[in-house]
């Protein structure tokens, strides 16, 4: 891997010819992928690690986000001397298709010169994984030392050995599930309806006009609650009032928790495309790895020789421990080597994105990078 190879480095973007056949029928061609790589691909190409991101995250896992200037979203996990050690591994993180950070999605301009909008095909988690495989082909990576992801990234990580059993040696799935529950789908539907009820949404054809900011902000507010725990919210906000001595007897953000959620909603609109939110939440709702394998989850893992590590958090009610346990049972039934630990954290689903020495220790141990 030569230093001036334009395929490697931060803030990469490639247009691959495809075509990428899609689970929902039809295909995507070309396929645009925005990605970053860290570290050096070994001469035997045996040290590649793929990081899969969550719903609203991006390819900037360990490099600064050029738009916000903020550091990568998982720098405590990925970097020099970290559990996913970029001094040892060649790490790839790609923006999923359907998203809006540079990979093909509804905001991408189609062959007619107009943004796809709602004519973008509905995609699945497995489609995202197949797009990642196209990128790895482009990078000359046949086999992954490991694929790692949390939340929706964990769904992709689980799909990897099921879709490409011979291309992955180890799988780390954090705070995730093998299928979306009725409750998961229900929360996503609230978000989508909020977007589509915004008059600015215009059937998805809002590019060049005002965006459906109010709808997307409400969607984010509802979703954000699901990422936290009740105890965490109580500890952080309680019933405390926001910059006032008494209740206003009106509908301003009297409570700190209201003010916080409103801010989260508004900040999200600045960085995320509403249509992408519809497409990616749909892909998550459609995810049911057992269904893709004759209704038996164990069948998803019978072809692979990969090792697995699963981590859940005790206050995560979005993807609770029992979801991880059912994956563990299926892996046991398939005879796959699997480790599992439930970690304690007050932070709910969000815990996987925060610095957790316990999580770091387990991942480092599993990857063999523990000092």
């Amino acid at each position: 891997m030569s230093a001036d190879d334009q395929r490697f480095g931060l803030q990469r973007h490639v247009i691959l010819p495809g075509p990428l056949p899609l689970d929902g029928g039809g295909q995507l061609a070309p396929v645009e992928i925005a990605y970053e790589t860290y570290g050096t691909l070994a001469p035997d190409r045996g040290n590649a690690v793929l990081i899969c991101h969550a719903l609203t995250m991006d390819q900037h896992v360990a490099g600064a986000n050029p738009r916000t200037g903020k550091p990568g979203w998982w720098t405590q996990m990925v970097g020099p001397g970290r559990p996913v050690d970029t001094d040892r591994f060649f790490v790839v993180c790609a923006n999923v298709i359907g998203s809006c950070m540079g990979s093909s999605g509804p905001a991408t301009v189609d062959a007619t010169g107009q943004p796809f909008g709602m004519s973008f095909p509905v995609i699945t988690i497995r489609d995202m994984v197949r797009a990642q495989a196209l990128l790895l082909d482009h990078l000359g990576v046949d086999r992954l030392k490991a694929v790692i992801g949390g939340s929706m990234g964990g769904m992709q990580a689980l799909s990897w050995p099921a879709t490409f059993p011979d291309r992955v040696e180890a799988v780390v799935v954090i705070a995730s599930a093998a299928r979306h529950s009725a409750q998961n789908i229900a929360f996503h539907e609230v978000g989508r309806q909020a977007v589509m009820a915004d008059p600015n949404w215009r059937g998805g054809d809002y590019y060049g006009h005002d965006v459906p900011a109010a709808g997307l902000a409400v969607a984010r507010m509802a979703a954000h609650i699901t990422y936290l725990s009740e105890a965490g919210l109580t500890e952080k906000f309680g019933r405390r009032l926001q910059a006032r001595e008494a209740k206003s007897f009106g509908f301003d953000a009297d409570f700190q928790v209201e003010s916080y959620l409103r801010y989260q909603g508004i900040a999200f609109v600045d960085r995320f495309d509403a249509n992408s939110y519809l497409y990616i939440t749909r892909a998550m709702d459609y995810f049911d790895l057992a269904e893709e394998h004759g209704g038996l989850l164990a069948n998803a893992f019978r072809q692979t020789r990969a090792r697995f590590a699963l981590i859940s958090f005790d206050t995560d009610w979005l993807y609770p421990t029992r979801e991880s346990r059912s994956i563990v049972q299926a892996l046991n039934a398939a005879g796959a080597p699997v480790s599992f630990v439930e970690l304690s954290s007050p932070y709910g689903h969000d815990a996987f994105l925060l610095d957790s020495p316990d999580m770091n220790r387990v991942v480092a141990g599993f990857l063999g990078t523990a000092s």
Binding site: N332, V338, S339, V341, E342, R361, G365, F366
Partner: protein, 208 residues
Amino acid sequence: MTLRADLAIIADHVAPGSRVLDVGCGDGALMAALRDSKQADARGLELDPRNVGAAVGRGLSVIQGDADIDLSGYPDASFDYAILSQTLQTCRAPDAVLGQLLRIGRHAFVSFPNFAHWRVRLSLLWGGRMPVTRLLPERWYDTPNIHHLTVDDFRAHLHERGITVEGAWFLSGDKQTRSAAANVLAEHAIFLLRGTDRASSVLHGNIS
């Protein structure tokens, strides 16, 4: 690193290349020994997340779980050996756990501290207090050992259930002691039992 005496006996009697499930595997010391000296495919189940983390750090496959709850998910006869070392007496339903062990393993090792050891007897007889000994160091209110048993209790239980004993070892300190007086002299007992799966009789000829 030297293994605890009961674990060393188990490790010595596991056939090379076996598939092993260590229930209550702690930090994975026995699993690591079986992997390194017997080329075993070892898997573990452990309640304490810190121990799970330590075992995973050794490159072992360990699942955080509870023997009383999580053994039901393992398929029948999916391991050559299921091991329950120093854990039986901490289970809420040790008889059910034993049944699961014999269902999952073609053979099962079970080791436990003997509550009829003479020191325990003396302590209770003369002191009138629940014994606190080297092997049973906790007091009555903080001990994880909620189902104390003796060698003879276990033998009787096996007899009642028609479970076949394939081997038994008894330890006083780190030394082995006679089987006949084990109920008095043994601090530790280790039993090798035959699994309930029919196929176990095939492998049986290969060990011993």
